[in-house]
Subunit: 402 residues, 2 copies
């Protein structure tokens, strides 16, 4: 018996899936326990020089209606037509693996239900953290845990920019330009720089860990475009690296609180050493204490590795893996208000901060010319921190990762 | 239907399995897709005050002969009687999950074959890296990769000692004493300090990644007892942290080379920030480039979390997971000689090293009173490095992690 699969899209990730599959075909077949081959590659463009040119089709129905195709790798990106295609495939009982974080964050619940109803699988390991195995470990390896928090560096572009600001004292604009030159950032870098990409990924993690679909619009999201070099250097002197952190935790009121914000990560925290385009996710559970997963969050072969790992799983499993799933959410009342977000806080101000802040004590103060930067001892809510920020005319304020 | 399992041993790990299971029973049953309960706890001691005292038995046959028990967590440690018990359980078709690295390193191939022959599973996620999911990611999530190298900090005791030497300038003997006081090191610390514990773990990883059983006796193993404070500080000045690294790679001659040695880890390498009792494993593959798994390598609940994660998997799978397996090795001809181990090297010597070393150039030199410490630019084999070490009367020499 030979398992046949199809690849939707022959862009960066899709061509990576084809390349990696044929490179490691023998060992992949050993791990899958069956012969495997790619039967179709869907793309509207022509690839006359491809060694696999006979496999190309422009017609999605060729794949949909071929009973021999039991698994599909979706590497097109965007919500449509990916959503329509995947839903149709799942309804035919074909398992789908995707790297499409936008789609999973917007429509994951619907596609997971469709997969369950048709006894097949909708897998999306590649949608968070690229090459990093995080989805499967979260619901399988850590299944014995009550996971109460995850915190991650989930966007490589912003981490590259922040690393340049930290290591080379390069201003934000210049670092962004370099990221664009190196192909790490898009011409329109909004989705990365303003945190929307990280937001989609924390939505997926939140949905999986807490069991209900979290939509991007429910998540407070702040990017890195306002971070100044003086914040990066003051934070460093105070003992922290500034990172764009996507976090979700269960609060004491039982609600969950996902956020994307620049945060100060203590130098002692392993995550402060995650540099350049690398991503990492820290997971906190009552059994494990904390565990971190680290690796390349994007790129052709890293993402292809995750998609293909899922295809191999899909070939091995002929029933739905029900632990990798979540329910639709009727509303977002299970999500806490960001006003309740609690942390110690970093403030930078040009006025003398000590009087009138209402802060009983501060952790450490760095004075730089006419400016002060300090981190509070006290844990304050976002609402309280905003209030203080106004009182002292703060030029910047960020939470400290706990 | 309710799945019943048994726990062998009620020491630190075994009691942790019982505690964590009842703490998270509801969510565990959701993830397993079935009701679950512990039917037996095997221990020769009495636990009259345990809330689960009715489940205790001193008779292994109670478990072996109870058809209702389909999965077993082995938390006794040591090769015997664990091996005899587990083999008998697997022959009855009961899946077994273990944290027993000594057993897996010595007898893993036999038990994996027994499991396969009886269509059940022998799982051992907890045997390497405690709470860290590493075994399942290696053979499932990274299944599309040709993994050519892994390098890990696999022993928490030695990492704690090296962290104290690095952070607090504490001599080895004093740091070891502190580790013993804190319960991180045994009264007889040989297995940890001389690298035997890390060796067992790299045997398990090597066997899984490369498919043939690697025995501890085939692995060159050097511990940390000879590391001096001056090496730690010179390495730091040169840009490195000294860590006990357990590594395996496939050499160009097709053989694999597992070793356990103190190595210099560059400060830029994320693994240099793995401190205290934490463990980490870096995995290198042709798709992923590199990915790291980090967390607590030992302890009651972290280890219990991994054992219990495997029990949940065993309950979900009623067939052998054949990708998590390896073959017996007839001999160790597939293992390369340590003489061929290649790296850049750190040397410390009291003589002027520049003449007569045969080294064309050195990377950087730190001069401390009458001693010199330097790292070579050139990659040298272990055989060459030993030769140079003799020529210059080196007081210490260690490889640099690549």
């Amino acid at each position: 018996m030979s398992a046949k699969f199809a690849v939707l899209g022959h862009g960066v990730v899709g061509s990576g899936v084809v390349e990696l599959f044929y490179k490691n075909k023998n060992s992949i077949e050993n791990r899958a326990g069956t012969e495997m081959d790619i039967k179709y590659i869907l793309d509207l463009r022509d690839f006359p020089d491809s060694p696999y040119k006979d496999k190309f089709t422009k017609n999605f129905d060729d794949i949909l209606n071929d009973d021999e195709v039991t698994a599909v790798a979706e590497c097109m990106g965007g919500v449509e037509p990916a959503f329509t295609f995947i839903k149709a495939l799942l309804e035919k009982g074909k398992s789908v693996s995707t790297s499409n974080k936008e789609l999973v964050a917007e429509k994951g619940d619907i596609l997971l239900k469709t997969a369950k109803d048709n006894n097949c699988n909708f897998f999306f390991e590649a949608s968070v953290g690229g090459a990093i195995p995080i989805i499967r470990p979260l619901h399988r390896c850590l299944a014995a845990n009550n996971i109460y928090k995850t915190a991650g560096i989930l966007n490589g572009t912003t981490n590259f920019i922040l690393t340049k600001m930290y290591n080379d004292n390069m201003p934000f604009d210049e670092a962004l330009k370099l990221a664009q030159e190196l192909g790490y950032a898009e011409k329109d870098p909004t989705a990365d720089v303003e945190g929307h990409d990280a937001c989609r990924k924390i939505c997926i993690i939140s949905s999986l860990v807490f069991g209900k679909h979290v939509y991007p619009k429910s998540v407070y999201t702040k990017g890195i475009s306002e971070i100044q070099l003086c914040d990066v250097s003051s934070a460093d002197i105070l003992g922290y690296a500034i990172k764009l952190v996507a976090e979700v935790k269960r609060n004491n009121n039982g609600k969950i609180l996902p956020v994307v914000m620049p945060m100060l990560v203590p130098h002692e925290n392993i995550m402060s050493g995650v540099s350049d385009v690398f991503n990492a996710v820290l997971v906190y559970g009552d059994g494990i204490d904390q565990t971190m997963f680290y690796g390349r969050g994007a790129g052709k072969l890293p993402t292809a590795s995750a998609v293909l790992g899922d295809v191999i799983e899909a070939v091995k499993h002929n029933v739905t893996v029900f632990s990798q799933s979540w329910d639709s959410a009727e509303d977002d009342s299970f999500i806490d208000s960001v006003e309740n977000f609690s942390a110690r806080w970093y403030f930078r101000t040009s006025s003398d901060h000590t009087p009138s802040t209402g802060i009983s004590d501060t952790y450490d103060v760095h004075e730089d010319g006419t400016e002060y930067a300090f981190v509070t001892y006290e844990v304050l809510t976002f609402a309280q921190a905003k209030n203080i920020s106004e009182k002292i005319n703060a030029l910047a304020f960020f939470p400290v990762l706990d």
